[in-house]
């Protein structure tokens, strides 16, 4: 070990277990040691391509959105600086904050329902997770994740239509009185759109939770059984607490899907009837590309981006705390 410490241990953030072995290889060949160190700077060449497309097509547009949001601009003529007035409009105009509220309501359907149903399903089928039936189900319930959301929108628009399958089934079980065009009714359009989201997300949530359950030590369940715990106690005492990581993942993925929903609603209701299913993504699209109010669209876009971060970050921190 006759090398200067700085050479045998070039970076302070290396975890210490590496120190020994790195020192050994350093003794084997000091020349390579230096070249590896120079490689740290050459390593930037490896990042340049990814970083450039990212900066050009993501980071730059983010800054531009923020810039646009402070102007009154129709996309063609000269823009006028208006400061934060676009943001004031977002918070004052119900056609602008309404979509945000709708998006939050969609969380009930995109996140809450699939996760609760997923938990119940996964807990019930946990014991037969290795069976052939479960293997088949694993494939089947994933189909909604694979098809485009546009297709889900088209399929469900038809199912929820006035003479679609949903109403047909309702009539069969004697509920013919409540049949209606679910997506065309002010009162039911948003929940109906939400159901489409629930259909898409249920499979993913169930399988994620099931995968989490398979990691739980089986002896915990045996012990609970010996103590005379029923399935319900078992669920709340063992299953649920062990699944925090998986639940956090489900919540994150589905909440982002709810807040930034676009495809399903564009296809099934276009935001209507009235503005009852309008969501921020769709309103941004309308404002920017139909009404040519680019500044206002951008203010709503910034609001949406901040909103997603504000909602998702605490959930993530919750998961980190749990791990530590």
């Amino acid at each position: 070990m006759n090398q200067p410490p700085a050479r045998s241990h070039p970076s302070a953030d290396r975890p210490s277990p590496h120190f020994g072995s790195r020192a050994v290889s350093a003794r084997r060949g000091g020349v390579h040691r230096t070249s590896l160190r120079r490689g740290r700077w050459l390593g930037y060449l490896f990042i340049v391509p990814a970083l450039s497309v990212y900066l050009l097509f993501v980071i730059r547009p983010i800054f531009l959105t923020v810039q646009y949001s402070m102007y009154d601009w129709n996309g063609v003529t000269k823009a006028t600086w208006v400061g934060v007035s676009n943001y004031l409009k977002v918070f004052a105009d119900p056609t602008l904050y309404g979509p945000v509220l709708n998006a939050f309501e969609l969380i009930i359907f995109f996140s809450f329902i699939p996760i609760v149903l997923g938990l119940v399903t996964a807990a019930t089928v946990r014991r037969i997770a290795e069976s052939r039936l479960a293997g088949l189900a694993r494939t089947i319930v994933f189909i909604p994740q694979v098809i485009p959301l546009v297709a889900a929108g088209i399929i469900w628009s038809w199912l929820l239509a006035s003479n679609g399958l949903v109403n047909q089934l309702l009539s069969v079980i004697g509920l013919g009185g409540i049949t209606k065009a679910w997506l065309g009714d002010f009162g039911t359009a948003l929940p109906a759109v939400g159901m489409i989201g629930a259909w898409v997300q249920l499979g993913l949530c169930t399988l994620l939770l099931l995968a989490g359950m398979s990691k739980i030590d089986a002896s915990l369940y045996e012990a609970a059984r010996l103590d005379g715990a029923g399935p319900l106690r078992e669920f709340f005492a063992i299953t649920l607490p062990s699944l925090r990581q998986e639940i956090v993942v489900c919540v994150t993925v589905t909440v982002i899907a709810a807040l930034s929903s676009f495809d399903i609603i564009y296809i099934s209701t276009q935001g209507g009837p009235g503005n009852s299913t309008l969501v921020p993504g769709l309103q941004i699209f309308y404002l920017a590309f139909s009404e040519n109010r680019v500044g206002l669209a951008s203010a709503l876009a910034v609001t949406l981006m901040v909103l997603v971060l504000v909602v998702v970050l605490p959930i993530q921190l919750l998961a980190k705390e749990d791990k530590a």
């Binding site: 970076s11 390593g43 983010i62 946990r126 038809w158 994620l208 676009f262 921020p280 998702v312």
Partner: protein, 274 residues
């Protein structure tokens, strides 16, 4: 034992219900597609005279062949390049740990939750200024950028676990930096790469927003974008719309059933990490 047998039965019933809930919409779609074009069938009802010709009709009127070829071209434009540059970046951040690698990682992670709608407006003007509107590049280039946060994060998660000794041993054997990366690390990253490839393929194929905003011509869109245009054009002819939807979904479903194991694994891992 008796209690657990009953539970298993409940579990089986629940699984079957879950599968029915997932599949019923497709059954309805399929049955409706067999009704006479232009009619307005009711719910699920096997037609007296199944119109198998609807599929041919939809295939022809939607120019399905051209649509699928367009999506394939977009996938070819997006996925391989994304894989290569994300692997390189993930390697530099996770394995080489260039100075500032944490900050760089943070910069990429920042984009993980970004809703595409947030940047679609400036993206439109940017693509217009590049003169790329209405070309497949208008979808390909932004998508590569938008996929970088997840892809770099994903590949970095793989490389961060690769022991440093591996590179050192290869260097001692006289390999240069590129050879160490290309001959030693990339082959070892194959499982991570194939999962990422599956995810990127799906996300590209199903991308809708970018195609709606940036490309007018359905024949230059992704499959999802083309399906949107198809609905706009044939939305009133329910049987034909159903037949067309099934046809546009068919390639993805086919690929999914062939690689189902890898797909499910990739999607589960993908959401766990993302």
């Amino acid at each position: 034992m008796i209690a657990s047998k009953r539970e298993n039965l409940v579990g089986r019933i629940l699984l079957i219900l879950l599968m029915l809930w997932t599949l019923m919409p497709f059954v309805s779609l399929f049955v409706t597609a067999l009704h006479k074009s232009g009619t307005y069938p009711a719910g699920v009802e096997w037609p007296a005279d199944p119109q198998w010709g609807n599929f041919a009709l939809a295939f022809g009127s939607a120019q399905m062949g051209a649509l699928i070829w367009s999506s394939v071209q977009i996938v070819i434009g997006v996925v391989p390049i994304s894989l290569v540059i994300a692997t390189m970046a993930g390697y530099a951040i996770g394995h080489l740990r260039v100075p500032g690698h944490r900050l760089l990682l943070l910069l990429f992670v920042f984009g993980l939750t970004l809703p595409f709608e947030g940047i679609i407006t400036p993206l439109y003007y940017q693509i217009r200024d590049f003169g790329l509107l209405n070309t497949r590049w208008a979808i390909i280039l932004p998508l590569i950028g938008l996929f970088m946060p997840f892809s770099v994060y994903w590949m970095r998660a793989h490389f961060v676990n690769m022991p440093a000794e591996l590179s050192e041993a290869a260097q001692v054997d006289g390999a240069n930096r590129w050879q160490v990366f290309w001959r030693v690390h990339v082959p070892l990253a194959r499982p991570a790469l194939s999962s990422l490839g599956i995810l990127l393929f799906l996300w590209t194929w199903n991308q809708f927003l970018l195609t709606v905003v940036l490309v007018n011509d359905p024949l230059k869109r992704t499959a999802a974008g083309a399906l949107g245009a198809f609905q706009g054009q044939w939305g009133t002819d329910i049987p034909l719309l159903c037949a067309g939807s099934l046809l546009i979904m068919a390639p993805t479903l086919l690929v999914f059933f062939i690689f189902q194991r890898q797909f499910v694994a990739a999607l589960l891992q993908g959401s766990m990490k993302g």
